[in-house]
């Protein structure tokens, strides 16, 4: 399950890590993966994936800051299109 969560993320800067140093970034990656999965479960899309998407598909357009992105996600989720369950 954890491996799948990581697979969804933008590739971390793993290239530079070698030998003993490799363990720390890997643990941090994993924690980061948990944090990002948690955010998506509660309805905030992944900001890093958004940045990657914009860089790939719309490199010339202005990107939202993390704050703007988060604010917009919250407004969308609880706006018009958010039916709730019992």
């Amino acid at each position: 399950m954890k491996a799948r969560v990581r697979e969804n993320r933008v590739a971390p800067a793993a290239g530079g890590a070698t030998g003993g140093e490799a363990i720390k970034p890997r643990l941090r990656d994993r924690l980061d993966g948990v944090r990002r999965a948690y955010l998506q479960v509660i309805g905030i899309p992944d900001y890093e994936s958004y940045l990657a998407h914009m860089a790939e598909k719309h490199p010339t357009e202005k990107v939202l800051s993390r704050q703007e992105f988060c604010a917009r996600a919250i407004d969308r989720k609880y706006g018009k299109n958010g039916p709730r369950c019992c």
């Binding site: 948690y38 998407h53 704050q67 019992c86």
Partner: protein
């Protein structure tokens, strides 16, 4: 997986399941352990998922990963994002699981543990999971369209508008009944009320933290929120015991109802980031954590089921809700077996985030199985309680009186032996002054959970803490639902008013917003208040009204699914949706008509209304009314309930006629006529 290993695994699951069911079925006259119940349920889920959902995915629907999902077609990194299937499963589950699966099974426990268990398991496999799965599939194939839009496209504009009216009516009833559950749980409970009230400043603090202090740091804010929440739970005991603070948090039912109405109006008018979003995060966190903790608790403690398999109340004379097993069991347990509301979630954000069509099986079908498991655990927690305690908590004051001595005597006469001391001791154990007539499911579940969790962790001394933790967990997501539901209700009302007078439909226009909010809160507030002063405890009326509405929405969603299958020229498999549709229509129409016309005033709205209005006309007073005006109000409220119920019945019959007409037309066509997005990605479709 290796074929032999797979065969052996599934054979083992089947054997474990069969063995668990045997333990439940053969253990008559002796107590059965709750572990058998939970294990039997899990085996059913695994087998249904492995075989039935695979059949639906491959044969009936023909899920095709070469067809791009809306998330792939419109990928914009924000609203449409292909999402990891485990993450989306969590997201979908958090959206569908609310208080519903916790309340219904607890109420249905009055008939014993067996009827509820069988309906939850059969219902989820045959109806609930199928509905969630196929609606999700239909929405994916229609570019993430909502249920209302899909009904409009596939069945026509009139059924589309009818469905929207039905959804709004169900919304209002849901908000009223959920608020009533909170009122019943917090009446004269200063500890509980303090912790719930504390969630307001905690959420505000989190909101400001996420927006101003550390923008976008949702994880940090959630962690701070959870710590503060636990602190408020701890200090709540001292506040409740304090001579000056305690009375401040000790409110009556009507005071709480007004407080909730005021809260709903204010909360729904605040910006979403300030209170709704942070509180929703806390509640999601608690919801998933508590469900997991309870499952582990049941396996660690392995409590015996104190409730018998069936009680004498299957004949319809039960104190918790009146009406015979058929049809009322099937509307009392709505969420957990099949819930119409899920069709709104399955056609909401989930189809816009799904990565591949084949994931719909895990997320749609599998997500509903998880919700069903929550319902099974709620039922278990209620049945672990001593039946005497269960009835003391759930029977209305009109039946058992207001003192422990009186209640013990009445309940013992029903055949569930209990002493006044046991009732008082239970109240003391959970840190409350009384447990009598706390209907609505939440407090009963909380006592059951407290007994299980305290045995697993902390012992007797922790029981009061666990009880209030469970109340907090339930009230937290009910209040979130009240807040979010009021907003959605307001949008729907404004949308409708906009057709009458255009400016009222403008969601950016402040007076129109205020009017929409006041109207929405006024509607559910009216039903809530009516429920609080209801002589039969309110839950008896409102929960069944909600059950009828919710199951009818499921019927409508399944009629759509059936029409979609026929229009896809897959009529060979149409029994998959036709069987649950037929069952839902039969049970809900029977229940709806009985609720309106049944001659027994405990069941039929009209006969109760007539009784009160006739007595009022002769100048006689019937308890608990104290004046002729109150008598007339009871009569009016029951006429109103009959009208609401009648609207549901008419809606579903109309929808049925439209669906039959459309299906007959589609059967004559040689080619599929479903309005799906074509399989190949058209040029320029990428966002």
């Amino acid at each position: 997986m290796n074929k032999l290993a797979s065969f052996v695994t599934w054979l083992l699951i089947a054997i474990v399941g069969a063995f668990s069911f045997a333990a439940l079925a053969l253990g008559r006259g002796e107590t059965v352990n709750a572990v058998w119940l939970v294990t039997a349920a899990l085996s059913v889920y695994f087998i249904a998922y492995r075989f039935y959902s695979k059949y639906i995915a491959e044969r009936v629907l023909g899920l095709d990963d070469s067809r791009p999902t809306p998330a792939v077609r419109h990928n914009d990194g924000m609203d449409y994002v292909p999402t990891n299937k485990w993450v989306l499963y969590g997201h979908h589950f958090a959206a569908i699981a609310g208080a519903g699966p916790l309340v219904g099974p607890v109420l249905a426990a009055q008939m014993g543990f067996l009827p509820g268990t069988l309906w939850i398991l059969a219902g989820v496999v045959v109806a609930g999971a199928v509905q969630d799965f196929i609606v999700l599939f239909a929405s994916i194939r229609r570019d993430g369209k909502s249920l209302g839009e899909m009904i409009k496209i596939e069945l026509g504009p009139v059924p589309g508008s009818l469905a929207l009216v039905g959804v709004l009516a169900i919304m209002i009833i849901i908000l009223a009944v959920l608020s009533l559950v909170v009122v019943k749980a917090l009446t004269a409970s200063p500890w509980g009320l303090f912790t719930i009230a504390a969630t307001i400043p905690i959420a505000l603090l989190m909101g400001v933290y996420m927006r101003v202090i550390r923008p976008g740091r949702v994880g940090e804010a959630s962690a701070i929120g959870v710590v503060l929440l636990l602190a408020s739970l701890y200090f709540g005991r001292a506040v409740a015991a304090d001579p000056s603070w305690g009375p401040l948090f000790t409110l009556t039912g009507t005071q709480l109802a007004w407080a909730l109405i005021l809260y709903g109006a204010i909360a729904a008018s605040l910006p979403v980031w300030l209170m709704l979003a942070p509180r929703d995060y806390l509640s999601t966190f608690l919801k998933i954590g508590t469900v997991v903790a309870l499952a582990i608790g049941i396996y660690v403690v392995a409590p015996p089921l104190a409730m018998p398999a069936t009680t004498r109340f299957i004949d319809g004379t039960g104190p918790v809700f009146s009406g015979a097993l058929f049809p009322f069991l099937f509307i009392t347990i709505a969420c957990g077996a099949v819930s119409g509301f899920h069709s709104l979630i399955s056609s909401g954000t989930t189809p816009k985030m799904i990565e591949r069509e084949s994931h719909a099986r895990f997320i749609g079908f599998g997500g509903m199985l998880a919700e069903s498991f929550v319902a099974i655990m709620a039922l278990t927690a209620a049945c672990v309680l001593d039946p005497g305690i269960y009835f003391a908590m759930n029977a209305p004051a009109a039946a058992i009186g207001t003192t422990a001595a009186n209640a013990a005597q009445v309940i013992s006469n029903w055949g569930f032996t209990i002493t006044p001391d046991m009732i008082e001791q239970t109240a003391k154990d959970i840190g409350e002054t009384t447990i009598l007539s706390r209907a609505g499911g939440a407090p009963t579940l909380a006592v059951g959970m407290a007994q299980i969790l305290a045995q697993a962790l902390g012992g007797k001394a922790m029981e009061a803490f666990w009880y209030h933790f469970a109340i907090l967990f339930e009230a937290l997501f009910i209040l979130t639902a009240v807040d979010a539901g009021t907003r959605v209700g307001r949008f729907m009302i404004q949308d409708m008013l906009g057709h009458v007078y255009k400016p009222l439909g403008d969601t950016e226009f402040l007076p129109a917003n205020v009017a929409g909010t006041v109207l929405c809160v006024g509607l559910w507030g009216y039903f809530l208040y009516q429920g609080v002063v209801d002589p039969l405890g309110g839950i008896n009326t409102l929960w069944q009204l909600f059950g009828v509405g919710n199951q009818m929405l499921a019927g409508i969603a399944l009629l759509l699914c059936t029409s979609v299958l026929v229009k896809m020229k897959r009529e060979r498999y149409v029994w998959v949706t036709l069987v649950p549709t037929a069952w839902l229509l039969v049970t809900t129409l029977t229940a709806g008509i009985q609720k309106i016309f049944h001659p027994d005033p405990r069941i039929g709205f009209l006969s109760l209304a007539n009784r009160f209005s006739d007595a009022a006309a002769q100048g006689k007073l019937l308890a608990p009314a104290k004046t002729i005006e109150e008598m007339q109000r009871v009569a009016f409220n029951n006429y109103l309930d009959a009208v609401v119920c009648g609207v549901f019945v008419v809606l579903v019959v109309a929808m049925c006629i439209y669906a039959v007409k459309i299906c007959l037309q589609a059967l004559k066509q040689a080619q599929p006529t479903a309005h799906e997005i074509p399989p190949l990605m058209p040029e320029g479709a990428m966002a």
